[in-house]
Amino acid sequence: MERTHTADGAGKVMPMREAVAAFVHDGATVGIEGFTHLIPTAAGHEIIRQGRRDLTVVRMTADIVVDQMIAAGCVSRLVSSFVGNSSAGSLGELRRRIERADPAPLAFEEYSHYGMVCRYLAGAQRLPFYPLRSYGGSDLPGVNGDLRKVTSPYPGPDGEPEQIYVVPPVNPDVTIVHAQRADRLGNTQIWGLTGVQAEAVYAADKAIVVVEEVVDEEVVRSDPNRTLIPAHAVDAVVVCPRGAHPSFAQGYYDRDNAFYRAWSHISADPERLREWLDEWVYGTADHAEYTAKLGEDFCAGLAVGEALSEPVNYGRRL
């Protein structure tokens, strides 16, 4: 995949507005990953503000931010393996679209979690397909023609030819992930749940990494194993503290469980959902305003204490 390089090879740091304008186009396939942890909500909101249309969203757990993007009219197709509001209830807009085409239909490609993981694995590894031991006997292949079978060229345990399901690669035009930190070159470090972020980035033509903070290269380079996404795979680094709210960033802030529960009620009523978008997305210029609107006291309530990793020695030649 061709990557963006700045003219001087120096930095890829840019504002969210610029990154979304540059890399998320109408009609694009957009990978958005982060499994409960580090969900790039702020990027989704900026896509809504910029009025993108006809996107195909690829996301394992299509949750609140996807429901919001659908409600804002950005999404015409969804590729996902879990379309629910975590364990806190339902996604109102998504259900109206799928159950009643209200106010418009939504094309939906249904997978299981590992099916999605394998699509990213195939995409990242430039493979024509990826095999997995799922789907035998499921009704999913009946509604998803991309779940196909291959016969292994090696005999199975019983000596007979063995069949296995495969999924096709997914190669998003752009993948967006949220991370704790990166350096200005794009070397990105994630800890806690790391999900499928590296694979989703490598599978994509372009990648936007939204981070809680940009740190000195020396910080990143003090622990190179923590860099899950190297600079060569990153096109834009966007600094956006609290950009994962209402999800969480391990070591930075906790999950806003109350908002998850609230969303089931907000999204159940199209009017109320519209008001929420007007107030919190269209009504804020950017995520800094959104965060200011949440308020310092509220954010303080999601603060976490300190639990530092023990340093390891990488060694130095004497």
């Binding site: 394992m60 364990s87 997995l132 799922s134 006997g137 009704d139 749940l193």
Partner: protein
Amino acid sequence: MSAPTEGKETVNTLTVPGAVTSSELLAVVASRELASRRTVFAGIGLPTLATELARLTVAPQIEVVYESGVCGAHPSHLPETIADAVLISGAEAVLSMPALFGYVLQGGHIDVGFLGAAQVDRWGNLNTSVIGDWQRPAVRLPGSGGAVEVMANSREVFVVMRRHTPRSFTEVLDFCTTPGPDRALAEGIRPLGVGVTRVITELGILAREGVGEELRLIAVHPGVTVGQVREATGWDLKVADSVETVEPPTAAELRLLREDVDPGRVYLR
């Protein structure tokens, strides 16, 4: 975020003293079934309660693996999701999803997988996708999550269903999201395990030993009759030669559950 096991809480006045909630009942019964098991793939809610209680009672060696990537969690608080930050801090290992699903789950390291469902049939096949027709469903449910993989790759699967009704225990699934091994084998695909071996409900326990077998009623909660269970089941439910009566939660089990496992009553509500 495997298929959800949570529903609306109702005190099970039928079967146990009013002081015991159906959450408590189901958690206790499920915990007892975990004796001698090593690795459990658990969703949040009842499976969390059951595995934590089992660790304090019948299965001290148990390791819970969460779909989010956490192995060997030592949470400071009861987790509210399978990805709760408290599961990560102090855990023994946190794996990427390719490693968790590929190496741990599909690799065959899970003894028991916990699943829930909107519908189950007599072979232990599960529906978590839709009520009605998939193309234009009456209710769009969350879908598989990792349930397809948990079923295909765990040695056995426990299903916890709060509601035991003919609509949820159905002759024909509206959609088979997560097939048991019988359906897989019919298609020529060989799964690792035997599929669902226990379905634990508000009325009792259904069991199934392996491929080719239907679920059978093996136990009822005190005060529940075999006839009530058959009535609540949407197919002609087979019944074991001798149906046992589930021993109600002991005072010790209830105390551990309420005071040690979930003092904040996150799930016990």
